[in-house]
Amino acid sequence: MKAILGIQAMRMRKEWKTLLTWLFVPLLLTVLTFNTLNKLGDQSNVPIGLVIEDNSTLSNNLVQKTIDTDYLQVSILNLPEATDLLEKHELDSVFVINDGYEEDILDNRRSQLIDAYSSNRSFAYFAVAETISSYVQEETTRAKAAKEIKDLYEKYDSSEEWNREEIFQTSREKQDKKQLITTSFSFQWTPAETESETTSLLSIWGIWGFFQIIATLFMFDWIVKANNNLIKVRWIFTKISLNSYISLNLLSYTVLLSFMDVVTIFVLHLLDLTSLSAQLFLALFGFRVTINILAVLIAKNTTNIFPYYISAIAITLILTICGGAFIPIDAIINRWPWIESFSPVYSLIHSEISFGFLGIIFVLLILFLNKGGNQHVASEFTRKKLS
């Protein structure tokens, strides 16, 4: 082990730039890709104009809620500007929060709160109008509820003093805590139905998995170089066999890369792109072991560097596409759930370990490392005879 560490230290001193690149590039590219794709997503949002004629708390709430809505790109404008842009088809639709919006809601008047404008090319108008209507509906319902509560207190001469703002606030808090629409109910003594998981189109771990597989495979090219037909013959006359050299290096690379994976989790957590959990750490370690073993198996069976790099790219694409990194494959997994345990990328995205895949490649690793062994290893060589 001391000899291996000595050799590895020498290699790292010589190739430290390459090593650092492969260690950090997956994390950097993941953050870059994720942010770029999200920005592109923002640009593909529906552009709408919002004209605010009422300067009140409730109108501000509505504006904020509209801005926070996914898939909407909101511009705050005055009416002439907004209608001008609508005529030029630069906006899909325009919504005007009329003067007296808050007053009308509080007085339980529900008509003519919002004016809407659309053009003959407003493809998303109805969807956006429905969304904004639902936000207004929430406020009017809250106002009605507040009025009813106050009436009840007055009817029963309650000493407690409730004002409208408190009722609104309590109502919002309740709504935030309890998403009634998505709450599932079950009968007593029957197991609670788990909420079906929804996978977003882009998974940070899917993107990271793609870059990490390719980086790991490229990083393990030292095996191909050591396994090269020209160098291979030297391993017969060394105290450590090529297989032992590979096994010990696999161990040291796994330690190094696992440390880097932990750094990755913390960086992504700091950037608010993932949440920390013990399950995620375990899944990532399982993924790391799987990919490292896979890299050894591929590299050990390749003697030329160029075909190895081509295979590395192809295998990365197959694993990530089939693992649902770019296109969700939940429908396929729902139909054939066993696929999950054979897809390292899918398992990583769902914070699990692909035990089926890991088991198979682990057995293959044991078989390959014991193959050939100590005796006449050169019978595997390509024989280039000149005489």
């Binding site: 000595g6 013959v233 017969i236 105290k239 100590n374 006449h376 050169a378 000149l386 005489s387």
Partner: protein, 224 residues
């Protein structure tokens, strides 16, 4: 001493070597000649434990190849025909790499001395920038790190200039005579063979090489 008796080698029922018998004593330089395809490299690979023999026995320093292969390898230095080095590493790094994997530990100074003894003085140069002759010398030097007793060289001077050829030849003779090593090497260069070797084995059915050497008054032992 190396003793080879009734050695046979076949590939897919095709006989390459038939009833090969040879003996090499300590301090001897033995040449192996023969036409292309005669089996010179195959014989060297068998002696180097790179290939297994089909039949026959090989004994090196009272150790049998069929029972004690791990210990026998410690006694062998094999210099393949191809340059088996890390091309992107320097001479020093190549030494460091193979020294750490070697059965025998060598100091940095000893490794440098090994290089200098065969006129290889580019310690910090990357291998890829060395001349053919320098690469050949390094190829040989790396094979000697563990101080083997039997040195097998497969055309060690192919494609290099006369000066490097002579330096390698002198070094090998010196190694055999002063340090008592057994050296077997193959070559197509008859002047190199005649100047360096104590004995010559001719392999194959073509009498050309044997006749040529005998016409120069040299004793040639024929192997089938």
């Amino acid at each position: 001493m190396l003793q080879v008796s009734s050695l046979e080698k076949s590939f897919h029922n095709h006989k390459i070597l038939t009833d090969v018998n040879l003996q090499v004593n300590l301090g001897e330089v033995v040449g192996l000649v023969g036409e292309n395809g005669a089996g010179k490299s195959t014989l060297l690979e068998i002696l180097a434990t790179v290939l297994p023999q089909t039949n026959g026995s090989i004994v090196l320093e009272n150790k049998s190849y069929s029972t004690d292969i791990k210990n026998i390898r410690k006694l062998i230095g094999y210099v393949p025909q191809e340059i088996s080095l890390w091309e992107e590493f320097t001479v020093a790094e190549n030494f460091l790499f193979f020294e750490k994997l070697s059965w025998k530990r060598r100091t940095l100074e000893e490794c440098k001395q090994l290089c200098l003894s065969m006129q290889l003085n580019k310690w910090d140069e990357p291998v890829e920038s060395l001349s053919g002759g320098m690469k050949r010398k390094l190829n040989l030097a790396i094979s000697l790190i563990h101080d083997p007793i039997l040195i097998l060289l497969d055309e060690p001077t192919v494609g290099i200039d006369m000066k490097s050829k002579e330096e390698i030849g002198k070094y090998l003779v010196n190694l055999a005579k002063k340090e008592g090593k057994m050296i077997i090497y193959t070559s197509h260069d008859m002047s190199e063979i005649t100047s360096s070797c104590d004995r010559i084995y001719c392999l194959g059915k073509d009498p050309f090489y044997a006749d040529l050497l005998e016409s120069k008054g040299l004793a040639v032992e024929k192997l089938e």
